[in-house]
Amino acid sequence: MNRTSIAVLAASGLLASLPASAADADLNALRDEIRQLRDSYEQRIAALEARLAQAENQAGAAERSAREATVTASQKPASEAAFNPGIYAILSGTYTRLSQDPRHYSIGGFVPPGDEIGPRRRGFGVGESEIGLSANVDQLFRGQLTISLPPEGGGAEVEEAYIQTLGLGHGATLKAGRFLSGIGYLNGQHPHSWDFADAPLVYKAMLGGQLRNDGVQLKWLAPTDLMVELGAEMASGGPFPSTDRNSNGVTVGTLSAHLGGDIGVSSNWRAGVSLLATSPRDRAYDDTNAAGADVTNAISGRSRTWVADAVWKWAPNGNPTERNLVLQGEYFHRHESGSLAYDVNGAGLAGDYASRQSGFYAQAVYQFMPRWRIGYRYDRLDSGTTSIGLEKSGLLSAADFPVLASYRPQRNSLMLDWTPTEFSRLRLQFARDQSRPDATDNQLWLQYIVSLGAHGAHRY
């Protein structure tokens, strides 16, 4: 309507500017009339425009209030439950086929820290179920509790229970409680996010699977574009390679330094060095002496483990959804010295003890199409030559310490997994495990791992 009136006005304007020729008086009268007409139209247009602007404003306000209404409507009603922490559960199950008896599993040349290092059982079995709770405690702390339920029963185990600061500032974060140690690369990750069904041999032999500390951890990030992260932990208690000391002091200490960054858009990396220092007292292990009798020996002294880790990830354009490749490896070197007590429940002999052990794993995991990955891992350990005072002095012979006999275990693992969504994964894994000096174990796993509940963010 506005447009039409403007056109009329324009036409009348044209008319008004026509050159005057005859009957000027008539024309002047006509011009006056048109001018009046134009003025009144202009006033009415201005009024209309004002009303339009007002209407638009009102519409805008209505839209805003509608938006606010939507936002309000989408909020949950207030209740106690609104502050519930994020809850998740991890379920896993396996079918395992082993050519050797898992009850006699051992890693040649290494003192096994317990019965958790080998494959659990043959046939069908459920893995450890894991339940996690996490939330911000308040503006200062965040809390995390992870409980694992071993399938054999025997009660729940506290995997992690820690608080972590949120606002210490200057790149520092303090953690206290029971937490996964920050040494190495894989140690900080939960088993359900590992790329293979089991831990690398070097983790089993040197850390008894994974190192958890009861203590405090301080991490500091440098204010640089290259990631520089330094960490230190102080802990007490007895996770392997340490032992419970009944002491007020710190019995486990770690230091770690990690660097990381990007190489172009498509790849990124992280590498670091860590040290784990502890002094075990009477760390017992079972062996069979030359006469074939079962004996319990114990090691006391100091233990230093160095870890070097590196990971490199590649994805075209940095978009890992389609294809990606991850190369990772870790090298461990452990030096222990002190004393070895032979047959602590019987003969009770003691002598010097020293060992230098090392090992590494290297793996490559390639996602060749969306949801499908294939991976290969090589494990190698070297027990070195253990120096045993009781053997050197001729009191006992090497045959009295078969577990400590020098050996180089190795293992090749191949896996294929399918990850239909972020919350589920099916895996097929085959391994040729030469951990035992006397036998090769051909292992086959079929495994599912799923997560329920809160969407956990996975570590790098």
């Binding site: 509608a66 938006r67 939507t70 936002v71 989408s74 911000n136 503006q139 965040r142 972590q164 949120l166 606002g167 210490l168 500032g169 200057h170 790149g171 520092a172 974060t173 991490k219 500091w220 990030l221 440098a222 204010p223 640089t224 574009d225 290259l226 990631m227 520089v228 992260e229 990690h258 660097l259 990381g260 960054g261 990007d262 858009v265 990124n268 990396w269 992280r270 990830k313 354009n317 940095g318 978009n319 890992p320 959804t321 389609e322 969306p370 949801r371 239909p420 969504t421 972020e422 919350f423 969407h455 963010a457 996975h458 570590r459 790098y460």
Partner: protein
């Protein structure tokens, strides 16, 4: 050891930067912060136009950048749920924690669409807070930008007048551009389209496109050929004119569907860096509208 202490000391002694340090999770908010801040802002963008913002890892370089950020600009609505919480925790940076003014979530500034009525993971990758791909409607950019300007002004009061002046100039240009795009896109009103991922409800609402089907059977779940076949028959009656797919996604399903249904596949940049022309916010929409209108011919 002495060397290490020297290195640490020199790192600590790095001069504090004068400009506001902004960490943007996705390119559109990085670009917006740059428009508002001009040279009074230092912007780092965590992802590129060819990356899926749902699936980014909290890689070392992001942790390092998040540590120094004064302001973290995220989409929110759980788009970055898989990596942002980890960045916040690992960064040791109190300024960007939840509840602090240094955390800005764009999705809080606009009316969300696709709010799920049922929360069940069997429904696919759904977001309880609504569809997070809000940047495809330029009117949302306006709402987010206005709020972001005030947040930046709050964090760096000394530069507040610069931010507000920059924002005023930008929003005027942006409004003029919206009018231009709307005029150009007028023929798109009511046009039936098929989308690969439910990523375009805001774009469809703005331009009046009619979304007749998504190629993904559930959000984030890839379609099988069998599923695409039945879908083809189901939407034939609706006569879709094109298939929309975002640049960061694999176009395979869309290409198959386009070939079978004999409709063009339109790969829209989706965000800045999605293609050559989408260098800034204006380029992003210039290119998107050109491609959509071009597909009608």
């Amino acid at each position: 050891m002495r060397f290490l202490i020297l290195v640490l000391a020199s790192l600590l002694a790095l001069p504090a930067q004068a400009a506001l340090n902004v960490f943007a999770t996705v390119p559109e908010w990085g670009a917006l912060a740059r428009e508002i801040g001009g040279d009074k802002v230092d912007v780092f963008t965590a992802t590129g136009g060819l990356q899926d913002p749902h699936h980014i890892q909290a890689r070392p370089s992001l942790i390092a950048r998040a540590r120094n950020a004064d302001l973290l600009v995220a989409t929110g609505a759980e788009l970055e749920i898989g990596w942002l919480p980890l960045l916040q925790r690992e960064s040791g940076n109190p300024r960007i924690q939840t509840g602090q003014p240094g955390l800005f979530e764009a999705a809080r500034q606009v009316a969300m669409k696709d709010l799920p009525t049922r929360l069940d993971r069997a429904e696919g990758d759904i977001h309880p807070g609504g569809n997070p791909h809000i940047q495809t409607d330029p009117r949302n950019i306006l709402a987010v930008g206005a709020a972001l300007t005030e947040r930046m002004a709050q964090l760096a009061p000394a530069d507040a007048s610069v931010y507000r002046a920059n924002w005023k100039a930008f929003s005027e240009r942006w409004q003029a551009a919206i009018a231009r795009w709307e005029k150009q896109a007028a023929p798109l009103r009511g046009v039936p389209v098929v989308v690969q991922h439910k990523a375009f409800p805001y774009l469809e609402d703005w331009l009046g496109l009619k979304d007749v089907a998504a190629l993904e059977p559930k959000p984030g779940v890839e379609a099988s050929v069998a599923y695409l076949g039945t879908l083809l028959g189901r939407v034939a009656g609706a006569a879709p004119r094109m298939v929309l797919v975002a640049a960061y996604q694999s176009p395979q399903a869309a290409e198959w569907f386009g070939r079978e249904a004999k409709v063009p596949v339109v790969v829209v940049p989706f965000t800045i860096g999605g293609n050559e022309r989408a260098k800034d916010l204006f380029g992003l929409f210039d290119d998107t509208i050109d491609r959509l209108v071009g597909a009608l011919k």
